[in-house]
């Protein structure tokens, strides 16, 4: 700890990353028999890419200031694999909230469980993706911050901290904004792979990860009343899923035409048929 404090002369920062496991982005999504959930049997599960960016940012901050990175996730035991991946990237420990009572909860219910876990860990900074590539609720970070009474900054594409504040750059429509928050604070990550280039787990990292602490928790362990965040407490629920409308078959602009002919035909079609130019 003293070593950490001396590093760069700054304060060590303890960071919690809220990590969601999602289906692989390659997944073909099919609607299950109940009409309101997806078929999960054959899905491959990954760390939500935006949360992976959060892990990367957390590790960089730890490298700069010293401190620790804890991964907080929720869901069934299959999520352990994703937490281990984050530990192999370099995070120090993990907490998995695995409680059947969370089944069918809405974003607010999940946020209540996460906020309770964060409270117990008492970090300086909470990081997570601005969105998850599955249900794209876009609520986790801001809600957890509100429940904790902490400030939050959303959609960072650059993140830094001096140990007392966290600063981000955030793109808005037609520009960008720089913002900062006093710690403790929540920051959510935007950007893309090109921005964060999250590290791969190294082989020694994978070996080490197996021995890092990973705690399984029930809601009761966190002092959360399951009836406050389960399906029964959900304010909003999905009642039906629908596939996007099939696109009408398109056409290849006639291969017999020369380049200029195809260009002319495309302009005509876009103007007369589609009426978009």
């Amino acid at each position: 700890m003293l070593e950490d404090l001396l590093k760069k002369g700054g304060l060590a920062v303890n960071i919690a990353v809220l990590l969601k496991q999602t289906p692989d982005t390659e997944s073909v999504i099919r609607i299950a028999g109940d009409g309101k959930s997806i078929v999960t049997d054959d899905l491959k599960w990954i760390i939500n890419p935006y949360d992976e960016f959060a892990v990367e940012v957390a590790l960089r901050l730890k490298e700069k200031h010293g401190g620790s990175v804890v991964i907080v996730s929720w869901g069934p035991q299959r999520v352990v694999e994703s937490i281990r991946t984050a530990l192999a990237m370099g995070a120090d420990s993990g907490v998995l909230i695995d409680d059947e009572a969370l089944e069918g909860s809405d974003s607010l219910g999940v946020a209540k469980a996460l906020a309770a876990a964060v409270q117990e860990l008492n970090p300086d900074i909470v990081l997570c993706g601005s969105r998850a590539v599955d249900y794209d609720e876009g609520q986790r970070g801001a809600m957890v911050a509100e429940l904790l009474g902490w400030p939050h900054l959303a959609l960072g594409v650059a993140v830094d901290s001096d140990g007392s504040k966290v600063q981000i750059d955030r793109p808005i429509e037609g520009g960008k904004v720089a913002a900062e928050a006093d710690l403790p604070a929540v920051a959510t990550l935007g950007g893309s792979h090109a921005v964060w280039n999250p590290r791969y787990a190294s082989l020694p990292g994978i070996m080490k990860a197996k021995k890092k602490p990973l705690a399984n928790k029930k809601l009761a362990d966190l002092g959360v009343d399951p009836s406050e965040c389960g399906a029964g407490a959900a304010k909003i629920r999905v009642t039906a899923l629908e596939m996007p409308p099939e696109r009408a078959a398109g056409r290849i602009i006639n291969g017999d035409l020369d380049t200029a002919g195809k260009a002319r035909e495309l302009v005509r079609a876009l103007h007369e048929e589609a009426k978009v130019i």
């Binding site: 794209d136 939050h152 900054l153 429509e173 960008k176 720089a178 928050a181 792979h193 195809k262 302009v267």
Partner: protein, 329 residues
């Protein structure tokens, strides 16, 4: 006061953003179906002078919080202010823009109000006095219909460019009520704002998008599609391959881990059509694909396919567009 539908407007740089009018129009449709009035919430610096304009889009009464401290959106400052107004107007439904700031405001507000939030909705319907909202999930690979529990407050953010905007009723003005709000001492703040004044069209708001992928072969070749975009008033997007190669800024990435767009016309140039890319642009009204490989998956989504080398086709297409523009104007 009887219940109302409440819309939250977005004010930036001295004006309401267009999406505010879309949200007002959608709010009005919901209010009419439920037999309620439509209230507005306008927060910002200098917003009082413009607030009555929301009446043109069906807002009956606007609650205004106008304060220099509200110049820039900061969640921690805006949310308590909005929540205070919400308590005053006691809405049955809240609608707001699913813009960058709107999505963030909605999330923190729903946390504060213990409400249920549906983000980025593309359709709202009223059935038996209750609302239902439809929203894309898995970046548009599927859609979810959401309903609210008895007694829960629906908060609905509306995806920009989707909800029909009324033609403004020029002579209509909304009643204004200025609200004295206490702005909490925030522990977060905006330290800089850098607005792009180049007039570049924002991807998520563009009617036409031309995206270039790995087939563009290098950053220098994007001039080809930029010129074409200039002619068509289009925005330029990119695939992840182009962004990862450092050819284009990450803000241009279209797809599951980039922007989800739904323009009238999407032109994919030198893009193969990976599932993550299709997720981001598959709901575009018309899709054109230019690719030299006839087997490229993008053609399965395209209304018009051009099997050609882009380096010969795009200049020819640009020339034809120029001709078309000169005969049409």
């Amino acid at each position: 006061m009887s219940k109302c539908v409440c819309m939250i407007a977005e004010f930036r740089g001295g004006n309401f953003r267009r999406v505010s009018f879309e949200v007002a129009s959608e709010g009005k449709r919901i209010a009419d179906s439920l037999g309620l009035s439509l209230c507005g919430i306008a927060v910002g610096s200098g917003v009082a002078d413009k607030a009555a304009d929301l009446g043109r889009y069906g807002v009956d009464k606007v609650f205004v919080a106008d304060d220099p401290a509200l110049e820039n959106y900061v969640a921690e400052a805006y949310v308590p202010v909005v929540a205070e107004i919400v308590a005053k107007c006691d809405p049955a439904v809240i609608v707001l823009p699913a813009s960058v700031d709107g999505k963030d405001l909605g999330a923190r507000l729903a946390g504060r109000l213990q409400a249920g939030l549906a983000q980025d909705c593309t359709e709202v319907v009223c059935e038996n006095g209750a609302v239902k909202a439809k929203r894309p999930i898995f970046a548009g690979k599927c859609f979810a219909w959401c309903e609210w529990a008895e007694g829960a407050l629906p908060v609905i953010s509306c995806r920009p460019n989707v909800m029909d905007c009324f033609a403004p009723m020029e002579d209509k003005r909304a009643e204004i009520e200025k609200v004295d709000v206490s702005i909490p001492a925030a522990r977060s703040r905006v330290t800089g704002v850098d607005l792009d004044t180049s007039g570049k069209v924002e991807l998520t708001e563009a009617e036409i998008i031309i995206s270039g992928g790995r087939g563009m072969k290098g950053p220098e070749n994007y001039a080809l599609i930029e010129e074409l975009a200039g002619l068509l008033g289009a925005a330029v997007g990119a695939s992840r391959a182009a962004v990862d190669s450092g050819w284009r800024p990450h803000s241009d990435q279209v797809g599951q881990t980039g922007k989800v767009v739904n323009p009238n016309l999407y032109i994919a140039v030198g893009i193969s059509g990976a599932i993550q890319h299709l997720a981001g642009m598959g709901s575009s009204k018309f899709i054109v694909a230019v690719n030299k490989d006839p087997e490229a998956p993008i053609f399965s989504k395209a209304d018009y396919g051009i099997v050609e080398d882009l380096f010969s086709f795009i200049p020819a297409f640009k020339e034809e567009v120029e001709k078309h523009k000169s005969t049409c104007s």
